[in-house]
């Protein structure tokens, strides 16, 4: 996300918002997984209205960043991949959301 607005530019919170959760799809994935204990790839795809490729890329980035844990199972002989938020992921999300809230408070 490119931020150029002088209204919000230069704020400390803005800097702290840079990182993996800077992208709205990755932020939405983490928020969904904070609310629900686990979600399958198909369910995330349905809720986020993303393509397989795009969602897969975002999930891989979050997994590599230590935000997500993966569990594979089978349903009707078809593989199902389940995603859960890790404890470090949950704490980073909490930080990100509180910085976001502070930023919104300051901008109004």
């Amino acid at each position: 996300m490119q931020r150029t607005d002088p209204e919000v530019g230069g704020l400390e919170e803005l800097e702290s918002l840079k990182g993996l959760l800077d992208h709205r799809v990755r932020l939405a994935i983490c928020i969904l997984l904070a609310e629900h204990d686990a979600m399958s790839f198909s369910r995330l795809k349905q809720v986020l209205e993303e393509t397989d490729g795009s969602l897969g890329t975002h999930l891989r980035k979050l997994e590599d960043g230590g935000y997500l844990a993966i569990e594979k199972s089978f349903r009707d002989r078809r593989p199902v991949t389940w995603y859960e938020l890790t404890e470090p992921g949950r704490s980073k999300l909490r930080n990100h959301v509180s910085n976001l809230a502070r930023l919104i408070d300051r901008v109004g």
Binding site: T4, V8, I31, A38, M39
Partner: protein, 190 residues
């Protein structure tokens, strides 16, 4: 696009996604409890409020209904690809609190402070409160059922005959209607 506008759009996207991932609606659970309430409430008029059969019925129907509800919820969660274990525990705690309050209420009838018929009405009132709180915190479809239960409670106080059966029909209808509402808003994804 400015940063503020981008941020707003991002938050709107996250919010829309969160709304689409709303609670799992399992109509079968509503129909199950509609049948259990209809039979249980009607039983009070049939065998009398002080009969041991009412206690036996709920001691069997309560745990069986809870077990079936749990099983259907887990199954629906696997089908849709969304597991809500913490929410499941909140549901259980909600209804455990109702059951505990109801059991403590039995002390009123056992010590003669309240008639057995009054105790049955009290259970319906407690159930109305439980459904109201569950409607506020867990599943808004339960709010009209709470209203039906509260009306049912009033009916049990003033209707001269078949009052519990009438309340049972009302509550069963409310549960069935809420079960039918919202069907088809989720589909299997795995």
């Amino acid at each position: 696009m400015t940063d503020a506008k981008l941020l707003k759009d991002d938050l709107a996207y996250v919010r829309a996604a969160a709304e689409r991932s709303g609670p799992d609606h399992v109509p079968a659970i509503y129909f199950l409890w509609a049948s259990l309430c209809l039979c249980g409430f009607t039983l009070i008029d049939l065998v009398g409020a002080g009969s041991k059969w009412i206690g036996i019925y709920w001691l069997v129907a309560g745990p069986v209904g809870t077990g079936l509800t749990w099983w259907m919820s887990v199954r629906a969660g696997r089908r849709t690809g969304q597991a809500d274990r913490r929410k499941g525990k909140r549901w259980v705690n909600h209804f455990l609190a109702f059951f505990a309050a109801g059991l403590l209420g039995c002390g009123l009838a056992a010590t003669g402070e309240l008639s057995w018929s009054g105790l049955s009405s009290l259970w319906i009132l407690l159930l109305a409160l439980t459904y109201f709180l569950a409607g506020l915190h867990l599943e808004r479809h339960l709010l009209p059922v709470a209203g039906a239960l509260a009306t049912g409670y009033v009916i049990t106080l003033f209707l001269p005959e078949y009052r519990f059966a009438t309340a049972g029909v009302l509550v069963a209808l409310a549960l069935a209607v809420q079960g039918l509402r919202g069907t088809g808003n989720r589909h299997a994804t795995n």
